[in-house]
Symmetry: C6
């Protein structure tokens, strides 16, 4: 390790995001993406893989905890991401981490085998030579844990495994308020190296979407909230820098 061995970036190629992130996400590390419902967490997780495949030939593994592969495929289809095709071409692989909801039995609190999941992720990554991994969304799994101390430890465990495997990953998690804290259990953000918040703020009966990089450990990034839209054609589109002047003060009277 030498002194110029600082944090390298993996360009996400999500429209406009890399300019805010000053190059991309920290390479080889995990980034937590939190947001209330419908803020675009799953879309972010999908596009993180899709843009890597489309522009950089980087295969990706999608670990789905809440929505099933067929749902993800269909949702992605609306943005013209040919996920099935990519699966056939071994650019994309699913690791299905949903429990079998209908037939599945009791909720066994705490009974979630991350050891087994880790092996499956590692196997999938090796199988297609994946560079990127998305985990969407940990909310369902965390809700089985008895308290936030366990959430904390298990999240550590996941991040550690991903780091050891050598991939750059996006982990989505839930929050329930736009105004307080960062994540549901108030611990997730302290465990992971990097944190991005997606917001969907209701102001004057209008919704406005913003993205903010809250921290990148050991390196720099732009701060503050940046406007973005979800476009049926281009997906997430962070407003080009040239347009990015401070948002109107009036819109933040609260």
């Amino acid at each position: 390790m030498t002194y110029n061995d600082a944090i390298r970036r993996l360009p996400t190629r999500i429209n406009g995001l890399d300019q805010v992130a000053l190059g991309g996400l920290p390479e080889g590390r995990s980034t937590l993406v939190t947001g209330t419902t419908g803020t675009g967490k799953t879309l972010f997780a999908i596009e993180f893989l899709a843009r890597g495949i489309q522009h950089l030939d980087q295969p990706g593994v999608f670990v789905n905890f809440e929505e099933r592969p067929e749902d993800v495929r269909r949702n992605a289809a609306s943005l013209s991401f040919p996920i099935e095709q990519w699966e056939r071409d071994r650019h994309w692989a699913f690791v299905d981490a949903t429990a079998d909801a209908e037939d599945g039995g009791e909720v066994i609190v705490g009974n979630y085998d991350f050891g087994g999941l880790a092996s499956r992720i590692e196997h999938a990554v090796r199988g297609i030579g994946a560079v990127r991994v998305s985990l969407d969304s940990l909310g369902a799994v965390f809700s089985r844990f008895p308290n936030s101390a366990v959430v904390r430890q298990e999240l550590h465990r996941i991040a550690h495994v991903l780091n050891r495997i050598g991939v750059t990953s996006v982990i989505t998690a839930e929050r329930t308020s736009e105004y307080n804290g960062v994540s549901r259990y108030d611990v997730e953000e302290f465990v992971l190296d990097n944190v991005i918040i997606l917001r969907n703020v209701l102001a004057d009966e209008r919704r406005r979407r913003t993205v903010e990089i809250v921290k990148f450990r050991g390196t720099t990034h732009r701060t503050g909230e940046w406007l973005f839209t979800i476009d049926p054609k281009h997906g997430i589109v962070v407003m080009p820098l040239a347009f990015l002047t401070p948002l109107a003060v009036a819109s933040r009277t609260r």
Copy 2:
């Protein structure tokens, strides 16, 4: 599955709603409709079926957890929906999921058999060839579960069954505040694919009703709050688009 296999819409035919929803509710999926008391959740659930019957010849199944069939029939009568007639014509079927309130025994926490209910819903759907299903309202059932992790899992289970059966459904749930969060347990909105909030905001001693689509997974919709009224003749009436300018800023000073 091909690339243009995106999310199709089922027109609700509720007055003005489909324009905001850009065509209707996502077909084959469940939409969560939340609201505080009296915001019109039950009316939404009824009209979702009634408009399908009236305009598109689509039979519907109404699963009632809180109000009994005779109450629903009578409440619907005020809007001239001839539910009894429709039941005789096999356009409408009730699945009565209320416990027997008066004679019924103890509250057995967690003791709600969704397996049995699923069969009854499936049976009713097959029986009349239903295209639409409304479940109103899950609040009473959820209150029997010991914690939000179980709410989460059971809601998953319900949504999964409805999806497998192939119907488009509306599921109503409760919230207790107009200002914080989306639903009572703060997990319902993460489980379902689509979320609509009905609001009844008290401002300057006046009530104003609004509807907002919070998310449609994998597809687009109009954002923000849209005014609507409940008309004794026409039921829910979302204001025509031409009138839909941003609501006055002054009305949202809080």
Copy 3:
């Protein structure tokens, strides 16, 4: 049941209220009246019966959970309601549901026999041919239940019995804040068909009383808050419609 079999109204004959309620309370159903302390819930419950006796010859049953019959009689006397006289004339009957406070033993949580109470109410209703029933106030009873799921179920049970007996009823319940939620346990309002809130708002060191109909299931009503006073002579007096312009905006700066 025919299509014009909508919700009929029972005029309360409380001064000015029926104009806001567009005719009266939904007949044959229960209406929840909530308010913080001293907002006039008990007065509402008393007047609901008294006005029926005075103006429409409708006998009424008063189920008292917190204040004893002699207290209710005395409080009513200040408004010149001759309750004892009415009791003798079989226009008014008490069902005393207070526990024996002084000599009474332990608080047995959950140990409240609603089955027995239901019979006593039914017996009293039959006895004088009652058309109206007031229950004031459920707060004391609910506080014995272990959690809000039980409150929910028991309230369902009560409403169901009253509905079966065929009376129109008013049920009062407590709330502790003028600004958040509707009722103490946040579930009462979802169980009952109709909800009215009485408020006593402190603004600029002055108190102002308002009444608001939050919902009437299956039918229409005026919305928003309406000013009323409690007059030593006329009891509750909702301001006549002609005076009812929107309340000053300045008074709601919070």
Copy 4:
């Protein structure tokens, strides 16, 4: 009981209070006086008895739960109330309900014998022919109860006994915020017939004392907040009505 048998008033003779109370406190009933620390609850309880002795020759019993008789005597001395003299003259009697704090043993939750206390109060009342009773303050006792349902029941029991004995009483209780709710457990105000709040509001670094009658069941009173001071000579002095214009709006911007 006849129709003009409404609620009679017992003049407190506390300076200026009876004008706001429209004659005095409801006779033969209990009035809850709540306030944050130092708002003057104990002073109110003392003066209620002292003014009765000084001006109306009405003996009084003081039940002390928190401060010991010698402390009450000394605090009263600063206002020139000769309590010891009154005790000798059988105008004033203490019922000491403090537990023996220093030597006393464990805190036994729920273990407070109100039956025994009731007898002691009754005995003291009979002994000097007391017309007034003050209980100050129930906060310490309530803190021994396991939950608010027990607080509710026990407060009922106390009020019932006092009512049966035939005295007019003042019961003080604690609150911890000037802005939310009425009392510490949010149930005390629903149990008692009459509620008065003493406030000590910090505005612009200045404290201002106000008194508000929140409810008098079955009778009328002035509403809103009224300024008062605590004068080293005259004790509580509510501002004379002539000066009582609405308090400045600017002082309530919060």
Copy 5:
């Protein structure tokens, strides 16, 4: 006891404080001094003793629960209080009530022997003929108690012992918010006779220190917040009365 046997004052001789307190702290009683971290509670407790020694030849006992004697000595040294010298001259004595933190064993909740502590305090007071006692800070001890009912009872016990011994005392306790309530457990202020709050308010990125006397039972005092500074030379300095005009309104907009 005679009528002019009102509450006497013990001048603190803390700069400027006695003018606000109208002479000093109530003699022979305990005064609760609460504040968030760093507001000057410990300094107040130290100066209360130091000024007594310096100006009135009154010995004092310092009961330390959190900071050890050597820390108190060193912190006091910065203000030129020669505590070691005073200890040698028998003007100052420590009662060390810290548990042995490093080697000490388990946290035994509830297991704090106040009986033993009381004897040690009494012994120290007798030993040097102490007139003043400071206890700093009860926060650590209280955190061992299972609930606020025990905090309440134990604080009563302490105050009672100090009162019996005949000393005037200062007891410091913690609060965690400048805006809500008075103390951590919301009961401390109701137990003690006198309450002072120290505040350290952040306004416009600046900190401002204020002191407020919230109550002195049975006697008078100035009300409202008074500015003070902590001066490296003179310690606590409350602004001289001549300068004490109402603080700027603008600084309290929240």
Copy 6:
């Protein structure tokens, strides 16, 4: 100990900080540095050691609880701190207090052996003659404790050991809100002698970093919030005093 034996300062040599701290951190004591995620706690802990090595030849020990040594090394590399080189030169030593996350077993609540850790820290300090110690961050450890009373006691224990060893230390801890309280458990700040808060406030979509010294027990410091930036070249840079005028009022409207 003599009277001029006041609190000495250890210059941190972090850019601009010592001017605000009036010389540096209190020598031989522990300073708590709290902040929400990404505020720069770890950077502060690293720079505290790095600046000591670079400018004052003072070796330092870094106790890492959350991020592993290799992560700290890499994050530090971005600021050109040659930690590996310093380790080889015995200027820097790690005490790795992370549990083995991946293979590690169950979360044993309360099962954290601070005795063992204390020995390891002492050994490392002796080994390189360390003058400074950083502990980053206690959040993960605290989450294993059953309640805040244990957090309190264990933090006492740590501070005591560090004090006995004779080092000056920085201990980082988490907070989850910029607006309420000081630390996660609301007790940490009362245990330690010195407290610094790092803030990252979102105002008008912009982030602004500030540092505030909340308390230095027994000595003086500048008060209020001071702007700082995190510069890719110079790390933490508190704005030079000349520029430090009060921050704009408008930026703190909330």
